[in-house]
């Protein structure tokens, strides 16, 4: 992606294509990934609520998983999951 010159910037740097942040794959930052042990999961949804990237999704069977395109490996989900169903593993 080539960077714009000052003349090419939109007035006030307004970002006018909605959802363009999804083009930025924060998953590339990840050095460890969360893995779920559904045997321990009680489906409380805390991981879903706390994920700062909003990348934890609920699957059809009610368990949770991370979209690894955006999961940056921060480990907050694992820290907050009190039944300890989530483990962080080295990439």
């Amino acid at each position: 992606m080539s960077l714009k010159t000052w003349k090419e910037l939109p007035i006030g740097c307004v970002v006018s294509d909605p959802g363009s942040a999804s083009e930025y794959h924060t998953g590339s930052w990840r050095s460890q990934r969360p893995t779920w042990d559904n045997a321990k999961c009680i489906k409380c949804g805390i991981c879903y609520i706390y994920c700062p990237e909003g990348c934890v999704q609920q699957t059809e069977d009610g368990f949770f998983q991370a979209d690894l395109d955006y999961c940056k490996g921060c480990g907050i989900c694992a820290h907050e999951c009190w039944p300890r169903a989530i483990k962080m593993e080295e990439e």
Partner: protein, 391 residues
């Protein structure tokens, strides 16, 4: 032509803003601005203008509210003074970076401490680098005219920047004096509806005020600087149009008996008319004195200033603020930087005066000229002095 009436200037400014079809105002009262807030909220409450008056608990909130409203596409107005402006400070560069054409009246007042409610320019000067267009007025008529022009300048598609109109507190805001108030029809003819460059609307989502890192920050600053500089062209066009419609012309730099003057004085704001009387007194005594009045502070009118002062032998720059531990007054610093590359330039002196409301009668202006003329060995050239300070 508008009707000639007498009215307190602060009230008249609120009336003038009331002619501009504003959509919203958020103004927190503070002396000496309060009459603007009070009268504008009266106009809204009485149904005389169809606008929202958002009552806020601080100037920080007032500025936040007008930023939000302007972002949503509203024509937004606020006003403040002194500490209120200092409280807004954090948001001022954001309003200009987001290119929101907010208009603000500033009833200039000294900044604390010590607490002082009277007039000088120590409130606006710390805002100098916030990226706002900053204009100064000399009398009630100019306060009214510029308050209306501000919207047209700010909202011009090639400008899209916030504008502040600086009106000396008390000296102007609390003065009952004569002026012509344009009619609603005249203002309607002059001021087109506001067409925002973007709006916050669910039908077309946008992000305003997004984050930018070092890869873009420099380009964004450059774009802002260029926008402010090129606003001058639009300001001049608006002033031309105003002169045609209302017969009152405005220039970035006004002069009075300056063409053949040996010694010039430069003022900004309401001191100009009193200084003019000193020029008349000095001329009557055979001194070739003249006056230069700076109306446009940002963008700074380099070319016009150079043309106005280069032929004089001496120039007295007056300032109503000081940059502590620095080069003297902020206007002085600007004039010096404007002239440093000129081969033909006057010897420049600086007097800092009228601080915290200290009165400056005609005789004091005459005294400044006399003191500079008596400096035959040019010892005080390039220095600054607090005029009238007790030693």
């Amino acid at each position: 032509m508008g009707k000639r009436i007498g009215m307190e200037v602060a009230i008249a400014v609120a009336e003038a803003v009331g002619l501009c079809d504003i959509d919203m105002a958020a103004v927190y009262p503070i002396t000496p601005q309060s009459h603007i807030a009070e009268h504008l909220s009266d106009l809204v409450a009485n149904g005389e203008i169809d606008a929202e008056f958002v009552t806020v608990e601080s100037e920080h909130s007032a500025m936040s509210a007008v930023i939000g409203a302007s972002g949503a596409g509203a024509r937004a107005f606020t006003a403040t003074s002194s500490q209120g402006l200092m409280l807004m400070h954090e948001l001022l560069p954001i309003a200009s970076a987001m290119r929101l054409p907010i208009c603000m009246a500033i009833a200039n007042r000294a900044v604390s401490g010590p607490l002082n409610i009277l007039n000088d320019h120590t409130d606006i000067m710390p805002q100098r680098d916030c990226g706002w267009i900053a204009l100064f007025v000399e009398n009630g008529q100019e306060a009214i005219d510029l308050s209306i022009q501000a919207f047209k300048i700010a909202e011009h598609k090639d400008v899209m920047l916030p504008v502040c109109v600086n009106i000396d507190g008390f000296q102007l805001t609390h003065m009952v004096e004569p002026f012509e108030m344009p009619s609603k029809e005249e203002v309607d003819k002059f001021l087109p509806p506001f067409v925002p460059h973007a709006t916050l609307h669910p039908a077309k989502p946008v992000t305003m005020g997004a984050f930018a890192m070092s890869d873009y920050f420099t380009e964004i600053m450059k774009a802002k600087d260029e926008a402010l500089k090129s606003s001058k062209k639009v300001i001049l066009e608006v002033w031309d149009e105003w002169a045609k419609l209302f017969g009152r012309s405005y220039k970035p730099v006004e002069t009075y008996k300056a063409d053949d003057a040996d010694v010039l004085m430069l003022t900004m704001g309401s001191m100009g008319e009193t200084a003019q009387m000193a020029i008349d007194e000095l001329r009557a005594k055979g001194v070739k004195a003249g006056l230069v009045k700076l109306r446009m502070w940002r963008p700074f009118p380099f070319e016009e200033i150079k043309a106005a002062i280069k032929n004089a032998k001496k120039l007295i720059v007056t300032d109503r603020a000081i940059t502590f531990g620095g080069p003297g007054g902020p206007v002085f610093a600007e004039i010096k930087s404007a002239m440093c590359t000129e081969t033909q330039r006057p010897l420049i002196y600086n007097y800092i005066y009228g601080l915290g409301g200290r009165d400056v009668p005609v005789g004091d202006f005459v005294g400044m000229f006399e003191k500079v003329l008596a400096d035959t060995e040019n010892k005080a050239v390039g220095t600054y002095e607090f005029w009238g300070v007790r030693e």
